[in-house]
């Protein structure tokens, strides 16, 4: 009984945490607070003000009594007061909050609710299957290890009562061979959907740290959301200036080159990657491209459009282009794309002026439910 008690209170607590996270989601997104707090399946979220407020002393004037070696003037680190105020906020932190671990899937669900993102209908749903065994049936033969005790007992009881050998004063139930019941399994085939996200980023000189931070934050949330929508997710990273190459995640966010910008190089690499490794029949493909929109030449832009039309869009669920405003202003590329692909549902463009624009652009990208 009491096990249930704590579970109830615990889930109530998780609910409250969830509410707080939802309330503050926009802040987490724009400030990038959750980046770097990601574990394997969980994110550590700093939740503001969940403790019950009480009048209490400011900590700095308080001081205290300690015990041990040391002379006047030696530095000490005050521990928790003896009755333990668990989770007391550090004296430097501006808010009294606590860190709570949240499942990535929960976080995605919160994101979905808050930004009103539709669930994605995966393509190729009925093409890919995995099988799974589930114990959902009962049968009268089977190995002893799968014997269903209660069913067997019931069956034996039933037989004994109906055959009149059941004695309520001495209620001994002895199952015979025919009474035994065993769990049985069924093999189910489940649709399985994979997705790959191909991130492309312009790392030419005009993309500063601020711009990269924005890309980083967005990619975190895009990852989180798509991960919740598909069973298996892969992420690939391509950086480009005048030439493109594939890199790992870390390099992706920390590289800065000084060259010019040839966007077509990245698209070409992306298209090659899709053709070689991600057959459209098995994969849901999401190319994302972030740039400040300053492409080298009009010719190259036309080349980009050609590659997109012929080799990328036909394969992808969605192609997203985010244009991050750099200190040198916002480039022409987004306008070109909009011009060439007006009315095309699988191309989404979004302009991100600063960190406050991240929320809107996530909504732009993922709000179509594709």
């Amino acid at each position: 009984m009491s096990i249930l008690n704590i579970q109830k209170d615990h889930s109530r607590f998780r609910e409250i945490v969830r509410g707080k996270i939802k309330q503050n989601l926009r802040k987490y997104i724009t400030k990038g607070e959750l980046i770097g707090r990601k574990g394997k399946d969980t994110v550590t979220v700093p939740v503001p003000q969940i403790e019950i407020p009480r009048f209490r002393f400011g900590s700095q004037q308080q001081g205290g009594v300690g015990q041990g070696d040391g002379d006047v003037g030696d530095q000490v680190q005050p521990g928790d007061p003896e009755d333990g105020e668990p989770g007391k906020a550090g004296k430097d932190s501006g808010e009294h909050g606590m860190d709570v671990d949240v499942n990535l899937s929960d976080l995605a669900a919160i994101l979905g609710e808050e930004l009103e993102l539709p669930r994605i209908q995966p393509r190729g749903l009925d093409k890919i299957h995995t099988t799974r065994e589930r114990y959902i049936g009962i049968r009268s033969v089977g190995p002893e290890s799968l014997r269903h005790f209660r069913r067997t007992y019931k069956q034996a009881l039933l037989r004994q009562i109906s055959s009149g050998i059941y004695n309520p004063k001495d209620p001994i139930i002895i199952p015979v061979r025919d009474d035994k019941r065993y769990r049985s399994w069924k093999t189910e085939s489940l649709p399985h959907s994979n997705a790959v996200i191909i991130y492309m980023m312009d790392v030419s000189g005009s993309m500063g740290d601020e711009q990269k931070e924005i890309v980083r934050i967005e990619s975190f949330w895009i990852d989180t959301w798509l991960r919740s929508q598909y069973d298996g997710i892969e992420s690939r990273y391509i950086i480009h200036d005048a030439i493109a190459r594939e890199v790992d995640r870390d390099t992706f966010f920390h590289t800065r080159e000084s060259g010019g910008t040839m966007i077509s190089s990245a698209y070409k690499l992306c298209a090659d990657m899709i053709e070689k490794e991600y057959p459209v029949s098995e994969w849901n493909i999401y190319p994302f491209h972030f740039s400040d929109g300053d492409n080298w030449s009009v010719d190259d832009t036309l080349e980009c459009v050609r590659i997109l039309k012929e080799r990328v869009l036909t394969q992808s669920n969605l192609f997203c282009y985010g244009q991050v405003e750099s200190p040198y202003g916002s480039g022409q590329f987004i306008k070109d794309l909009r011009e060439h692909f007006s009315g095309e549902e699988t191309v989404i463009t979004s302009e991100i002026k600063n960190k406050d624009g991240i929320v809107q652009s996530i909504k732009d990208f993922l709000g179509k439910g594709r």
């Binding site: 407020p53 209490r56 015990q67 530095q75 000490v76």
Partner: protein
């Protein structure tokens, strides 16, 4: 509550240890041990020892925290004992037999303390039942008025549960409800001196003086009549429960929270003594009787881990046990009283021995009548502070950190006492329930050297507003300037106060 029977070998040990405890004169309620796994231990601990308590998310939060720090190996609860008749104590499954023995001996120390210490005298010894009763009531309200409604009101009540008058169970306080005087009651008379002879009357009690005094008293009376409460009330929580415009169920929920706060208060008031006393007894019972040779190292390790000291604060187990031992030694050797105090010869003082042998008797007396504040006030000595290497630390603004400030006896004692007074909680009083004649509530923080934290204060005031449903104010000192914090339900204001 479901009882799991103790494994037979532990049951035997329990009988043995209980026997030792009784022979030493410990006096306790029947003690029921229950063996639990760590999960259940964390669960029970997050309910403050009472698995039957009312539902509230903060217990879930506590559990979350404990389960996490347990799985990271940061903490482990060895024992948990509840002040109740019978005393319930939980043993952690998987502890070594040595540890279980030590915990049992320790528990008997606590049980004796619960039963014998006078500060625990007013506590409800059937608290397990009472808590279950509270739980049932709160659940009923939740069924009737909705979980969210009741839970958020509980949040508000809990915000006030440190604003109680920890001494009120032991003394008679003025009533907290407004007393309506009957119209023609008590014509005010000035007190007169006894003249003895009637012709002396007009000299001893001259008419004009008496009349003036009568008018003064009358004025005072009418002034007081308007004022409510007449004197500042420390038990803010109970004051609100009685005088705030609450619904019946809200009043009941608030009283539940208050009753539980009062139940737990003596444990806060005697933390050092209680732990010290229990440690003293586990140490005696273990080392003199219960340990066998192969266990001594394990015991020593566990015991010393419990007694670990840190420069960042005091360990109540350590200070408690050492102080009890010091008192025992002083009364055994007669190191007290006028003669000893006035002795100037340090060497003589060091080897002082009058062979009184009163130590054991004295500590039993001490555990009966003292609480942490009086315990330290009475028995802390300069020699003790020096031997135990106590010091005070303060915040150094230049260094942005805390540093050792002093090793002076007076400083240490003052700091310790200041920390313990009112359980380390600020003194907050209800000063005026009709502030500015607008039915607003004025609270007063009796400032003794430490300012309140404003962020926490703001939130708390907002919660008090929810109870009082009129603007609430708190007057306090911040950096030696008089301030008035106000919450009117919408926003918080911090303004200077004349």
């Amino acid at each position: 509550m479901k009882m799991l029977s103790l494994p037979p070998y532990l049951r035997e040990l329990q009988i043995e240890i209980e026997g030792h405890a009784r022979r030493y004169g410990l006096d306790f309620f029947d003690t029921v041990f229950e063996m639990v796994d760590y999960q259940r231990m964390n669960e029970v601990a997050s309910y403050g020892g009472f698995p039957v308590r009312y539902p509230h998310w903060r217990f879930g939060m506590e559990y979350d925290r404990m389960a996490k720090s347990f799985s990271y190996g940061l903490h482990k609860i060895y024992e948990l004992v509840i002040n109740n008749d019978p005393c319930y104590a939980y043993l952690l499954e998987g502890n070594s037999t040595t540890e279980q023995k030590m915990v049992m001996a320790h528990v008997y120390g606590h049980c004796d303390f619960f039963k014998s210490n006078q500060w625990f005298a007013p506590t409800n010894r059937k608290m397990m039942d009472q808590m279950a009763n509270h739980g049932a009531r709160v659940r009923r309200y939740m069924d009737k008025y909705g979980v969210d409604e009741v839970e958020s009101f509980l949040d508000v009540c809990l915000s006030l549960d440190n604003l109680i008058d920890r001494h009120s169970p032991y003394v008679q306080r003025a009533p907290m409800t407004r007393v309506v005087e009957e119209e023609d009651a008590a014509v005010i008379e000035a007190p007169k001196l006894i003249a003895g002879r009637s012709y002396m009357e007009r000299y001893v009690n001259p008419g004009d003086v008496i009349e003036k005094e009568r008018q003064r008293l009358e004025a005072e009376q009418t002034h007081l009549e308007g004022k409510f409460p007449v004197e500042p009330v420390l038990d803010v929580a109970s004051f609100l429960a009685r005088n705030a415009p609450l619904k019946k169920w809200q009043e009941d929920v608030m009283n539940i929270v208050i009753a539980e706060a009062y139940y737990f208060a003596p444990q806060g008031m005697t933390k050092i003594m209680n732990e010290g006393w229990a440690s003293y007894w586990h140490s005696i019972i273990m080392t003199r009787h219960s340990l066998n040779d192969s266990e001594i190292i394990d015991f020593a390790e566990t015991h010393s881990a419990t007694m670990a000291v840190s420069p960042g604060g005091i360990n109540p187990y350590k200070i408690g046990i050492e102080l009890f031992r010091d008192i025992e030694d002083r009364w055994d050797r007669g190191r007290f009283g006028k003669e000893y105090d006035e002795c100037q010869d340090l060497d003589e003082k060091l080897h002082w021995n009058r062979h009184l042998g009163l130590g054991r008797e004295k500590i039993f007396q001490v555990r009966r009548i003292h609480n942490d504040v009086t315990f330290l006030d009475e028995f802390l000595t300069p020699e003790f502070c020096w031997r135990q290497k106590l010091f005070t630390f303060e915040y150094n603004k230049k260094r942005q950190g805390f540093e050792i400030f002093s090793k002076d006896f007076k400083e240490i004692k003052n700091k310790l006492l200041a920390q313990l007074t009112n359980f380390g909680q600020p003194f907050i009083y209800v000063e005026e329930a009709n502030y500015a004649n607008r039915g607003e509530l004025l609270l007063w923080h009796r400032h003794d050297s430490v300012d309140l934290d404003q962020r926490w204060g703001r939130e708390t005031l907002s919660n008090i507003y929810k109870v009082w449903s009129r603007p609430v104010h708190l007057r306090t000192l911040i950096e030696n300037k008089k301030r008035l914090w106000t919450h009117d339900g919408k926003e918080f204001r911090d303004s200077p106060f004349e």
